[in-house]
Amino acid sequence: MKYLDEFRGGPLARRLAAEIRAAATRPWTLMEVCGGQTHSILRYGLHQLLPREVELVHGPGCPVCVTPLELIDKALAIAARPEVIFCSFGDMLRVPGSGKDLFRVRAEGGDVRVVYSPLDALKLAQRHPDREVVFFGIGFETTGPANAMAVRLAKQQGVRNFSMLVSQVMAPPAMEAVLAAPGNRVQAFLAAGHVCAVMGCAAYPPLAQRYGVPVVVTGFEPADLLSGILRAVRQLERGEAFVENAYERAVRWEGNPEARRVLAEVFEVTDRSWRGIGVIPRSGWRLAAAYREFDAEVRFDVGRLQTQESPLCHSGAVLQGALKPPQCPAFGRECTPRTPLGATMVSSEGACAAYYRYGDFVPAGSVAASA
């Protein structure tokens, strides 16, 4: 496909990797923020092309992974109600809540449906005026415009039986939380290209200056990722820390102004709890007052929920780049994509799922590891 294939060539990737090897004279730790980038890196084996000096750690940019357990449990409770059609992106269905997942709710008779776009959920609501249609509006800034438009149209068109369970989070506050955490090792970021396509780059210069870290806006294809890494390594080697755009064909400095305008109208900034990480101040969005009537948390009182996380799951440390998935004792043993303990093993962007699928790992404690 155009704009994909030409950035995927093996020879170009190998030559860029050689350039990175030439540039890196000291050890550097880089974090790719987006889980989509993590999957590309493992899928194409890009980490194996890098010199020993350059280590990639994987960031928190997986919306499915960071959606808090309490909200998943709320989704499960709402989806089980007989009047509800519960719609979600496919990734969310297998994410473990405290007791079950959305697949289980569906098997028990709940009307749970996978949709491709929040507008599909809105159409369902129009087709079924006698039912309550709830969309699980999870996502980073990339998905925000789609979710915002669905709510905005619901209000404009008077679709009162539509609501959204909102779990919208933002990348820059999470990146700052990584940098501010004790023991942080991250020295440069590959910022999430599609987040920047929407929001632009203005949030990053303060981060680069305050913490002295290069921030390189990076795409998702092998040549994009390697050129992002190369630019970050060159900045680090020169002792520089500024914001660079290595994904210029898709990202303008100001982002998408129309999308940002609608985001600012429909959502307002709020503190958000991140699964495995905890509360990060002003790190997400909720529906603004004018749209609050479409908030599923307001519409459905599910009471107080007692959440319970698996004691074996270390996804919080994985999401903050403190632990590589194969270093988790449960990885590939108690925890597999068929029996996930945490969302990072489920999502198509989760680091644990990426290592399980593409990684040349050896589970801790196995015969090979002890040999």
Binding site: L119, S227, A250
Partner: protein, 85 residues
């Protein structure tokens, strides 16, 4: 989740007051919402995420990036030859 796929806009129309259209993704046609790219024309490429066009893909910039990368890559290849040679 933040996966966004490049598609070529083949048709633009209005539905219930919203700018919509059809895009071709390597042979697969899908309806997309174009509300966030009011300037986008049929024939142009856009990144599509969750059914929404979020960013126009700039062909000239893409070609420039590839040229720059190829140049960089050539330097890398020479270096590679040095290492292996």
């Amino acid at each position: 989740m933040c996966l966004a796929i490049p598609g070529r806009v083949i048709e633009i129309y209005e539905a219930s007051g919203v700018r919509m259209g059809k895009a071709d993704f390597g042979g697969v046609t899908k309806e997309i919402c174009l509300a966030y790219l009011p300037e986008l024309q049929a024939g142009e490429y856009t990144l599509v995420h969750a059914g929404f066009a979020i960013s126009r893909l700039d062909g000239e910039t893409a070609r420039e990036t590839l040229r720059t990368l190829e140049e960089l890559g050539q330097a890398g290849e020479e270096r590679d030859d040095e290492v292996s040679g």
